[in-house]
């Protein structure tokens, strides 16, 4: 328990530092908030354009799809807000040798390296994503109870953990291949899948992107829970998948850490 308090204090200090830093560069903060808002709008615009010409996509109506995309954006905003900058810089730090800085800090290296920076612009836009989900739910006439909302929040949290683990796994090769710049981008390729309904995946794509890589399930499970209620198999599967990917990320990260040789000057 004491250890948990210790990490909470470290995290709060980092958060305070990030917020002070953001307040120093207000113009930047404004531009980046707009950037995220625009990209979210792009996704919603795509849905609107497609549904101008068709009524359903894989059995999902327009507002059901909006709810799915909103959920996917919500998970991504949390990831961007809490972890993206730190994990993205981790790749560069490993290549440049600046990663030494984290080895000398008072805590678990993975925790210190992946939670150092907060991006308030991502967190602010998470409210917009929540707004999209709430608006879609209203249009669909949904009235989720407190238990449904708690379950939705739990599944979104699982989604954030899975995305976090996948992002760490996308960056971790930097420990082995120091010249592999741009591998961070591979994460975005996979995250695109999370905006599609699970029913659209058939055959090999279903096996690969729904069951082996959990990218589709991550957003579909919470959205389906709001839309159709509690499905114990789906939720059990998501919890198991979360545990699996998080463990894998921890193992691979620490294997990589053993390979880290620092940089000579």
């Amino acid at each position: 328990m004491g250890s948990l308090g210790h990490y909470a204090r470290i995290w709060l200090t980092s958060a305070r530092y990030s917020i002070v830093r953001t307040l120093m560069f207000r113009g930047d903060f404004f531009v980046w908030t707009l950037v995220e808002l625009f990209w979210m709008t792009v996704n919603l615009l795509m849905i609107s354009v497609i549904y101008r010409h068709t009524d359903t996509v894989a059995g999902w109506s327009k507002y059901e799809m909006m709810l799915l995309v909103g959920t996917s954006l919500l998970i991504q905003r949390f990831l961007m807000g809490f972890f993206w900058s730190s994990i993205f810089e981790m790749g560069r730090n490993i290549r440049s040798g600046n990663f030494d800085f984290f080895l000398a800090q008072p805590g678990n290296v993975m925790f210190m390296a992946t939670t150092r920076k907060l991006d308030p612009d991502g967190l602010i836009n998470s409210f917009v994503a929540m707004g999209v989900v709430a608006y879609s739910a209203r249009q669909l006439g949904l009235h989720p109870g407190a238990a449904d909302l708690a379950l939705y929040a739990l599944l979104v949290a699982c989604g954030v953990i899975i995305h976090y683990s996948m992002l760490v796994l996308c960056i971790a090769p930097a420990f082995w291949i120091t010249s592999a710049q741009g591998i961070e981008g591979s994460y975005f390729t996979f995250s695109e899948f999370s905006r599609l309904p699970r029913q659209a995946f058939k055959g090999l794509a279903n096996v690969a992107f729904v069951w082996i890589l959990p990218v589709v399930l991550v957003s579909n499970a919470p959205a389906s829970t709001l839309l159709h209620g509690f499905d114990v198999r789906l939720i059990g599967w998501l919890l198991a998948v979360t545990a699996f990917w998080f463990t894998l990320a921890i193992v691979v990260f620490h294997r990589g850490l053993r390979r880290y040789t620092s940089a000579s000057s």
Binding site: L45, V49, H53, V57, A58, A180, G182, L196, Q199
Partner: protein, 270 residues
């Protein structure tokens, strides 16, 4: 004239060599772009399940559009030219061009051409490799006029792509950090350039409005000619005229920003 050409040929050759160093990175990027095509395939085939034609086009035509768009991006898209120019301004590397008889725009454009030659050839590898899987869904019209109008359209799109990136790079004379602005503009470009959905699926008035904006000519226009989304040669010809206007405007804006920016620029050090 020949001496001038030789100068930029040298820049092209240096650009070619430095881009070949990153061939694996570009190949990986090309490979991952095909995952985007899987997303496109799944999403649009599901949308087409309910209706045989969307906006008057079949699934094959729409999928072909997205494949052609991807190839065109690797052939003419400005990847990070804005960032490179911005870095050269911020780090003072442009100082050397102020002292030499080298036109900075022509120098950067030569490097851009060499980079796109490398990426344009590399993207053909995954296209050829996945062709057996995709060929049943590809519908490519083979009219001669499409080639005659599409190629100049593609060349002018390259000028617009590079010109816009150049203008954004020039912003570094005024702003310390342009990355946010660049990504903001990328979001606008991706929608109005037709990368998220074919522009012809927009409401009619919005589609017509988009035809007067430079983004339409950045990517959608040549791809629409080649893939049969634009089927009227007269309309394509008129489009070429408008595209040429935008090329002139953007290049002039780049030149103006360079001149104005240099007045603010301070070269320090010896």
């Amino acid at each position: 004239m020949l001496a001038t050409l030789n100068k930029y040929r040298a820049a092209f050759s240096v650009g070619l060599q430095s881009n070949l160093v990153y061939r694996v990175n570009f190949a990986v990027r090309g490979f991952f772009s095909f995952f985007h095509l899987i997303v496109v395939f799944i999403l649009w085939s599901s949308a087409y399940a309910g209706s045989p034609a969307i906006g008057g086009f079949s699934f094959g035509q729409t999928f072909t559009y997205f494949v052609a768009l991807l190839v065109a991006q690797f052939m003419i898209g400005a990847f990070n030219e804005d960032y490179q120019i911005s870095e050269e301004i911020r780090n003072g590397l442009i100082n050397q061009f102020l002292l030499k008889p080298v036109n900075y725009f022509a120098y950067r454009f030569s490097i851009y051409l060499s980079a796109r030659l490398v990426t344009g050839l590399l993207i053909l590898l995954p296209v050829v490799a996945t062709c057996p899987l995709m060929k049943d869904h590809l519908v490519l019209p083979l009219d001669l006029w499409r080639l005659a109008l599409g190629l100049p359209a593609l060349a002018m799109s390259a000028l617009i792509q590079f010109g816009i990136a150049y203008c954004f790079g020039m912003m570094s004379f005024w702003f310390l950090e342009i990355q946010g602005l660049v990504i903001l503009s990328m979001a606008i470009e991706s929608v109005l350039g037709g990368q998220i959905f074919p522009l012809d699926l927009l409401p009619d008035w919005l589609f017509r409005l988009s035809q007067y904006l430079p983004y339409y000519y950045q990517m959608y226009f040549p791809v629409a000619i080649f893939t049969g989304r634009l089927n009227d040669p007269a309309a394509a010809l008129a489009g070429l005229g408008l595209q040429a206007c935008w090329v002139v405007i953007i290049l002039a804006a780049g030149q103006l920003l360079w001149r104005r920016g240099l007045r603010l620029h301070t070269a320090v050090g010896g």
